[in-house]
């Protein structure tokens, strides 16, 4: 079985994001870029499935210009077998990304498409769902546990009401939640080895090009700040303040 893992190049989660002064976007010049954390978890899960003898090959996929090769090499260093760069200079909407994953899943005959539940830049949380819909295959989003058993997967999902369990036939789309696993650290020899692993470049048009009318993105703004309130001296003053405001 092959597992296809999507990894998006995104602003590192430790970076404090700032809106550009002209409102045209957020500052990305000179900002550290990394693999989207949820995608890193998806890749870790794929590698664990392979290491447990339940998959033969892990393929990492990223969409973008040549900069994304950096994140693909990180994925290869973590242990993926090969990489595919879907080449485009455009920023894509989730529907187009989903179409790309569907096309690649079919081309590769993937048993699982494993994605992060959302990217921490646009926070869309849509690609996995859309891929499952277009592909007509099971959709197990927000996974906190994945058990592969032959041709099925049992997936525990983190939903608002608790933990939901689904059994799905493979092939299927699974998206990772934060607590699915803790990704491994990359070791230096693995980085050297990753340089020799195959990385194919496929033009976006070969996989269907753009899908759906894209919403137009306008001005970016910083959120309205919360201001500092009052400090009280003791519990009695705190309780009095709460009562004054009619909160308790």
């Amino acid at each position: 079985m092959k597992i296809l893992v999507g990894i998006k190049r995104a602003v590192d989660y430790n970076v404090r994001v700032r809106v550009k002064s002209d409102g045209s976007g957020v500052e990305t010049d000179g900002v550290k870029m990394s693999v989207n954390p949820f995608d890193e978890i998806a890749l870790e899960e794929a590698l664990r499935i392979k290491e447990a003898g339940k998959a033969d090959e892990v393929i990492v996929v990223s969409i973008g210009n040549n900069d994304v090769q950096q994140q693909l090499r990180t994925g290869l260093a973590m242990g993926a077998d090969r990489a595919i760069q879907v080449e485009t200079g455009d920023t894509l909407q989730p529907l187009t990304v989903a179409r790309v994953f569907k096309a690649l899943a079919e081309r590769e005959g993937a048993g699982i498409v494993l994605l992060g539940k959302q990217a921490i830049d646009d926070d869309c949380n849509q690609v996995g769902q859309m891929t499952a819909a277009l592909w007509g295959r099971p959709q197990a989003t927000f996974a906190s546990k994945v058990v592969i058993d032959g041709t099925t997967a049992t997936v525990t999902r983190e939903v608002d009401g608790g933990l939901e369990t689904l059994e799905v036939d493979l092939p299927a789309v699974i998206t990772s939640d934060l607590r699915l696993n803790e990704p491994r650290f990359v070791k230096l020899p693995d980085i050297m080895k990753a340089k020799r692993k195959p990385l194919d470049v496929v033009p976006l048009d070969e996989l269907g090009g753009h899908a759906g009318a894209a919403p137009a993105t306008g001005r970016h703004a910083a959120p309205a700040p919360r201001s500092r309130g009052v400090m009280v001296g003791d519990t009695a003053a705190l309780v009095a303040e709460l009562k004054n405001r009619g909160l308790v």
């Binding site: 404090r16 700032r18 809106v19 957020v26 909407q93 989730p94 529907l95 921490i120 830049d121 926070d123 869309c124 949380n125 849509q126 769902q129 859309m130 499952a132 819909a133 099971p138 959709q139 197990a140 989003t141 906190s144 999902r157 983190e158 939903v159 608002d160 009401g161 608790g162 933990l163 939901e164 369990t165 689904l166 059994e167 799905v168 036939d169 934060l178 899908a211 759906g212 009318a213 919403p215 137009a216 306008g218 001005r219 970016h220 703004a221 910083a222 959120p223 500092r228 309130g229 009052v230 400090m231 009280v232 003791d234 519990t235 009695a236 003053a237 705190l238 709460l242 909160l247 308790v248």
Partner: protein
């Protein structure tokens, strides 16, 4: 063009989730730009009670009820196609931005061949919205082209619960989809207990690493039960194993907007603040006077939570 809005109801088979009435508020804001109607779609089995609750939400025109056995579990592979089919003729399709709404709505949007908007937080026009990106560190204006259905989730923290007193017409709508045989629902293990749900509670009591142990969280549970509050925790407390994952409040946990948020022993990491910045009133109690949470707290008290929590409990009882 007049707006014709369809909202996907969220429910547990018996009770309508408040996220639905919040989505109605978002829809009502859309109808301020050119008028229009708001309908609710209820998918499930044996859901007349839920339909009646949906019809009672103020501003609702019609409630479409699709009652079918295969729709009983809230599976996106069954609910998504049903929502897409029901969307025909509508200008907008909305769902709450809960895990359910986020699971189903993009699935339906893809079947409709349209892009979707996540977490609509403000309406600027019938097709112009604001939504948060980068965990709420930037707010972006987005405009949907004229010729496509607007598909979006409404960010629960941004919208008030629409009032009751509506008289929507309940109509049966036949299912158009078959059960997807490739996916089997095995159940939901509730986080449960009798405490209110974190997402919808009016008051939330929350603890951080300073609690020091799972046992020490008991004092927060007691305070919460006295207040009728839900209990949350910072990521540090979750990572330390004091409480289960589903109690985590923050960017990577739950983003909440209670009327009152009481934070005990929480320092106020950015990722936690992101989860509470829409709360009505934030109260912070922390031993460290320099804790960043005091920068955003409405009421702050420098003190030891192990002293303050029992005192609050005593003075309120």
């Amino acid at each position: 063009m007049t707006n014709k809005i369809l909202i996907l109801a969220e429910h547990d088979g018996a009770t309508l989730n408040p996220g639905t009435a919040k989505a109605v508020s978002c829809a009502a804001a859309i109808t301020e730009h050119g008028g229009g109607t708001i309908d609710i779609l209820v998918l499930g089995e044996g859901i007349d009670g839920v339909a009646a609750q949906a019809a009672a939400v103020a501003g609702v025109n019609a409630v479409l009820v699709t009652d079918a056995a295969h729709l009983a579990p809230p599976l996106a592979v069954n609910h998504g196609p049903e929502l897409a089919a029901a969307a025909e003729g509508y200008s907008h399709v909305l769902a709450p931005s809960s895990t359910y709404g986020k699971d189903v709505l993009p699935h339906a949007a893809a079947l409709l061949g349209v892009n979707a908007l996540s977490d609509i937080m403000a309406v600027e026009g019938a097709r112009a919205f604001k939504r948060p990106i980068y965990a709420g560190n930037a707010i972006v204006d987005v405009t949907v082209p004229d010729d496509v259905i607007v598909c979006g989730t409404s960010r629960s923290a941004s919208w008030p619960t629409a009032a009751e007193g509506g008289a929507g017409a309940v109509q049966a709508r036949a299912a158009t989809s078959q059960r997807a045989a490739h996916t089997r629902y095995q159940g939901l293990a509730g986080a449960g207990g009798d405490r209110p749900d974190l997402q919808t509670a009016r008051i939330v009591v929350s603890g951080g690493r300073a609690l020091g142990s799972a046992e020490n969280f008991e004092i927060l549970y007691r305070l919460a039960d006295g207040l009728g509050a839900a209990v949350g925790a910072s990521r540090a407390a979750v990572d330390a194993g004091y409480v289960p994952n589903d109690m985590q409040v923050g960017q990577t946990g739950k983003i909440i907007s209670p009327e009152l948020y009481l934070a005990f022993g929480i320092s106020g990491a950015i990722q936690h603040i992101t989860g509470i910045k829409d709360a009505g009133t934030i109260v912070a109690v922390n031993k460290d006077a320099d804790a960043p949470i005091f920068e955003i707290a409405d009421i702050g008290l420098v003190g030891d939570l192990f002293t303050v929590v029992p005192e609050i409990e005593q003075q309120l009882s």
